[in-house]
Symmetry: C2
């Protein structure tokens, strides 16, 4: 949580952190600014002190809205610094960061770097800063970084934003189900009144219109993949595909607050009209594992035990798993869950042996089986918030049924 930042900086042996880039679609910056329209900037936080947000003069109003202590970048006179460094823009920017760090109250020490940016220039600038100002040790953390670890547990305000995204997502999924059921089938295909097939593209249009109406964004797109595409976990589905009855449809929806805020993540597998025996069997196998995992969730349990349990159960059912072969393409081919927040995938990851389902985490539970060669795939996913008292709260409540009943025309 954000309130743990100083303690975590001590744990990570860091004296400061520096985040660069926009406030929109830049999770580490949004974590500090909230939803403001800031195209570029920098935030510096020394351990034990409040952050300073540096903004460009045209964005002073947006910067003020963040409630952070702010400074105007114009006061650092980059043109003068560029002259001073013989026209070298990289060195000038490095020199500016040195001044900004000092002005933020960070005189020296280990500083972790963050920000989702075009990284070529920062690669040069921060290497130049390391040469220019050796009192700073610039740290690029990989894996479970300082901010990733802070963001891993959510405070009540964050949980409430994630809850709201869950409710909106369930609403959108309900609209999609109602839309599908408002059509009738003929010749094994869901059809519009004029006889044209209902397509994957039609469903995606409805999803985007619903998201817009409900005030959320869909920047990563939606997976609505039928038949063989359902058997390829990250295939998003072909917009022109007609919705055939009796084929598995993997419907994985992940919406986001406008401007790059908190996410939802939710998957159901549907068969329109009926489920052929092999699709029903595949679903039952995944559902068995899903119910087993959800029923066994315990606060503070190691997350990777769920991945082990999933592999145990799928292997007992006779499926190949990623545990047996990291390159597996049919069977259980991915990991069972990940954290969810400002990033669609964030800490904790179920593949990581060191993390637990600590109170405050928000994680997905998403076992699945994939057989593109048989033209099918099944995934079921809920997102769970581990409350401060250890209770499990599902964030988007929706039935898990496979078959969506459809009338014949």
């Amino acid at each position: 949580m954000k309130q743990d930042l100083d303690a975590l900086m001590e744990k990570h042996n860091l004296d400061g952190l520096l985040v660069i880039g926009a406030a929109t679609h830049n999770p580490m910056m949004h974590y500090f600014t909230g939803d403001v329209h800031m195209g570029d900037g920098a935030l510096i936080k020394p351990r034990g002190a409040a952050p300073t947000l540096f903004y460009n003069p045209m964005e002073r109003d947006e910067a003020a809205r963040t409630g952070q202590h702010t400074r105007n970048l114009i006061d650092y006179n980059l043109p003068a610094l560029t002259k001073e460094h013989g026209g070298d823009a990289v060195k000038a920017q490095a020199a500016r960061y040195a001044k900004m760090l000092a002005d933020s109250g960070l005189e020296k020490g280990r500083v972790a770097l963050f920000g989702k940016v075009e990284f070529g220039a920062p690669f040069a600038i921060f290497n130049a800063l390391a040469a220019l100002a050796p009192q700073y040790e610039l740290v690029g953390q990989a894996g479970r970084t300082l901010l990733a670890e802070a963001m891993e547990t959510k405070d009540e305000a964050e949980a409430e934003r994630l809850r709201r995204m869950g409710r909106i997502t369930a609403e959108v999924v309900g609209r999609v189900k109602a839309y599908l059921q408002s059509h009738k089938a003929k010749g094994g295909v869901l059809r519009k009144k004029d006889g044209a097939p209902v397509t994957v593209g039609d469903v995606k249009t409805l999803i985007n219109a619903s998201a817009l109406e409900l005030g959320v964004e869909n920047p990563h797109g939606t997976i609505f993949a039928i038949g063989r595409d359902a058997g390829v976990p990250h295939s998003t589905g072909n917009p022109d595909d007609a919705l055939e009855l009796g084929k598995t449809i993997v419907f994985d929806i992940f919406l986001q607050e406008p401007g790059g805020g908190y996410h939802s993540d939710f998957t159901r597998t549907w068969c329109l009209g009926y489920a052929p025996p092999d699709a029903q069997k595949l679903y039952d196998e995944v559902r068995h594992v899903f119910d087993d995992l959800m029923g066994g969730l315990e606060a503070n349990a190691p997350f990777n035990l769920l991945q082990e349990r999933t592999c145990d159960l799928f292997e007992a059912q006779g499926h190949a798993t990623i545990r047996q072969d990291p390159a597996v393409q049919e069977g259980y081919v991915h990991s069972v869950g990940h954290g969810l927040g400002l990033n669609i995938h964030e800490q904790p990851f179920s593949r990581d042996a060191s993390v637990t389902l600590r109170p405050g985490v928000v994680v997905t539970i998403e076992p699945g089986l994939y057989y593109p060669s048989k033209g099918m795939g099944v995934r079921i996913e809920d997102t769970v918030y581990v409350r401060p008292n250890g209770d499990m709260e599902v964030l988007a409540d929706f039935p898990h049924d496979l078959v969506i009943p459809i009338e014949e025309a």
Copy 2:
């Protein structure tokens, strides 16, 4: 242009380029992949040879859609590399990049780094690669980088995508104008049938719904700022603001192809119903400069001459300019234009003395005057494509008029 890449790599003294990150909302990667749903990956291009796209196994179908030569990252066995490097994930990833570079046909030399990513880990990984594989010199370019310079001029396929975005943007602007004129004014405020004011938020909802219907995205939001907000160039406008007659409204719209493709960029300033004399005067002054600039556009002319001309004309009108004072907040406070493409702001920039309006560039021309203290601002912006023959083509055709006539209730 993409076809100039090898020549530009020679000019930049580069033997290769490396782009990392997703294919969505990552301009440098999108430039090579087009619109595919690839969450992570890497692309390596040696000078004089075709690129190789490295993908994660779950995204093999999306990678195949790019038409690039592809390789599966699973074949690089990161877990084994991690063991080999004593559990150090950063060194393991550096070692993987060394193999990937060699497998792409790049044995040594200067390699420029690109990609919009969370940059802490790459900062560490590419510094580790520099230590591990000194046959590579890793270059973080700033300013007019190799790819920025390639992207600066558009080929015909890119121009056509930008043209289409211009047409869609003019269509959306037309819908906004029609929507405003479908309401009547009472008490100096545009009102709905029930008497409630039409708000900035209502207009933004219409814009987003229109964008969705027309198959484009609005990931950066829209500026629709009235009164004082119109006087702050990057203020996006307050959704709750009622649309009052006789106030300047700066309407700056920048849409994007889905998934992070090409943009539009377009601004008009409107007064609903009538223009008070001081707003009309401010508009006339900006319009005079805008018409002067647009009438004087010449292929291959230095872009910064337009900025000089803009300052000359505004100063002659008695306004303060950013040329006189970089911190100016009232008057002419920004630069007159920038390139437009996969980035909303890209090369060439009118502040840069070294760039010209070469055939193939797509640039904005956007003079403006800002007086927040007087509660007003005016900006007029068109986007211009300099055709291969040097002709100027405006990409979104729409009248420049200030006053939008409104009926009284």
